[in-house]
């Protein structure tokens, strides 16, 4: 099949070697594949991020209890009683002092004298789908005046939107990269075709079918683009693999990587580049052939 599409070496000899323009195609494919690795990583990483924020945080909420210190314990107890009786609450947990300190540490530094700060108490709630958030809010307002239910939607929504947008940009970048490769290969193929018009004419005169003539060109451009893309993909993959690791909670930039099986997508880049080059060259060849009877 591949051989039928690409033609044999013998047919390849029919078109003279084109010297340094060979390297332009290889170089373009290398650069485009290198960029494609990053665009793909961006699309996949932001995709993962958006999913994570959308899923795990959708279920999680925090209830903040701000009350004078002497009432705080009583209010938290009342709150826990309510939560225990509310259907759809899978889990609830009061954050202890050290956890709160850990949350504040990035902002206020270590060695925080927590006891001297009037901090609200935090209760983490993991809800299921049938948690009636409105009902819970009303009950809290009536029975635990210091409690505020925060389901994170306010800051989660824009983040999820931003991540979705980044993911879309990643895919758009991939499309543009494929389009650029196709355009570059088309130009290179057109140059080769017009430099070899005598070869094409002779081939047609001695009875070559259009497909045969086209193959003499598609073979070399497909192989060059695939080889260039292989180099570019390897370089891009290495660059990503050796990206400095920040802490796992770091932003999405340090998360720019491939998760497990996603690495298997990389070999598709040279294949895809080869396919793009094949189609572009074939199109250019068949349209050039129309000039020859």
């Amino acid at each position: 099949m591949l051989d039928a599409a690409l033609g044999d070496r013998q047919a390849d000899r029919v078109v003279p070697p084109t010297g340094h323009t060979v390297w332009l195609t290889v170089l373009t494919a290398t650069a485009m594949a290198f960029l494609a690795v990053f665009a793909l990583a961006l699309a996949l990483a932001t995709g993962r991020l958006a999913d994570r924020w959308a899923d795990s945080l959708a279920q999680a909420a925090t209830i903040r209890v701000s009350a004078p210190p002497e009432q705080a314990d009583a209010q938290v107890d009342a709150l826990q009683a309510i939560l225990a009786a509310t259907p759809g609450v899978a889990e609830s947990r009061v954050l202890d002092q050290s956890e709160q300190a850990a949350l504040l540490e990035p902002w206020l530094g270590a060695d925080l004298p927590l006891d001297t700060l009037p901090l609200p108490r935090l209760v983490e709630v993991i809800g299921t789908d049938d948690l009636d958030v409105e009902g819970l809010r009303q009950r809290l307002a009536a029975e635990v005046p210091g409690a505020t239910y925060d389901d994170h939607t306010r800051w989660r929504q824009p983040l999820v939107r931003a991540a979705d947008r980044l993911r879309a940009l990643g895919w758009i970048a991939l499309t543009l990269i494929a389009g650029t490769l196709a355009a570059m290969v088309t130009l290179a193929a057109q140059a080769a075709l017009s430099a070899n018009s005598q070869v094409i004419r002779v081939l047609r005169l001695v009875g070559a079918r259009d497909a045969y003539v086209a193959r003499a060109f598609t073979r070399r451009f497909t192989l060059r683009a695939a080889a260039g893309a292989l180099i570019g993909t390897t370089l891009g993959g290495l660059a990503i693999a050796f990206l400095p690791q920040a802490d796992p909670a770091g932003g999405f930039l340090t998360g720019l990587s491939f998760a497990g099986a996603a690495w298997l997508l990389l070999p598709l880049i040279p294949l895809f580049a080869g396919a793009v080059a094949f189609l572009a060259t074939r199109r250019a060849a068949l349209s050039a052939l129309a000039r020859f009877e």
Binding site: Q198, L203, D210
Partner: protein, 224 residues
């Protein structure tokens, strides 16, 4: 196999050929003569589908060349061997590869025909030059190579445009003998030439018709 019905051709502007009727019966031998610029090459191009008639029609195997699809035309050309006036080689391939080109593009196994190829090159006297490139050959050597390429596919029809233009008398005689031999084997031959001596010499070997092209019309000359 080749038939012209009221065929005409114009390169734009005034018509060059008009209302040509010609049937090349299987096994016939025709010479085409006429002054330079009369349109002999143009007529031959109509016969192998390199040009499509601008009026009337040209039938190859009963099919109008204008409606013949491109692959069909390619297959037709494997059955018509052509010696072009300007030879038409691929310059970076050796003479051997150029002569084998029709086999190659038809998907035939070139290695399997190596003996055939060597014999043919020997016959046209190019065995020692088989590895040379076309631009390194003399005009006559190129024409002999072109003839070898025209017949390597064992075509039904052989069309030669001034095949003796650059070769000496002895070689032209050999070439004529070969064409006559091929004709006796049942092949249809059409040769465009200025060379009246060649036509006269053919008298003894084949029964050929002479077609004269002048002022865009074809007049049938004497049967030799």
């Amino acid at each position: 196999m080749i038939e012209l019905q009221g065929a005409g051709y114009s390169y734009g502007g005034a018509g060059l050929l008009a209302g040509l009727d010609l049937g090349l019966a299987q096994g016939s031998f025709h010479f085409l003569t006429g002054p330079s610029g009369a349109g002999k090459t143009t007529l031959l191009k109509l016969c192998y589908g390199d040009l499509k008639p601008t009026s009337g029609q040209v039938l190859l195997d009963g099919r109008d060349t204008r409606s013949l699809e491109r692959d069909g035309l390619a297959r037709m050309r494997r059955r018509i061997g052509v010696v072009h006036q300007d030879c038409q080689f691929i310059d970076h391939l050796s003479i051997r590869e150029n002569v084998a080109l029709p086999l190659m593009v038809a998907g035939r196994d070139v290695a399997a025909e190596a003996v055939n190829l060597a014999q043919l090159l020997g016959w046209v006297g190019l065995a020692p030059r088989a590895d040379a490139l076309p631009p390194q050959l003399s005009g006559g050597e190129r024409q002999r190579a072109a003839l070898a390429r025209a017949i390597i596919m064992d075509p039904e029809v052989i069309i030669a445009d001034e095949p003796t233009g650059n070769i000496d008398w002895e070689m032209s005689q050999r070439l004529l003998t070969l064409l006559a031999e091929l004709n006796r084997m049942g092949k249809t031959v059409l040769v465009a030439t200025h060379d009246l001596a060649l036509i006269r010499a053919a008298k003894s070997q084949v029964s050929a018709r002479v077609l004269r092209l002048a002022n865009g019309v074809l007049s049938s000359g004497a049967e030799l």
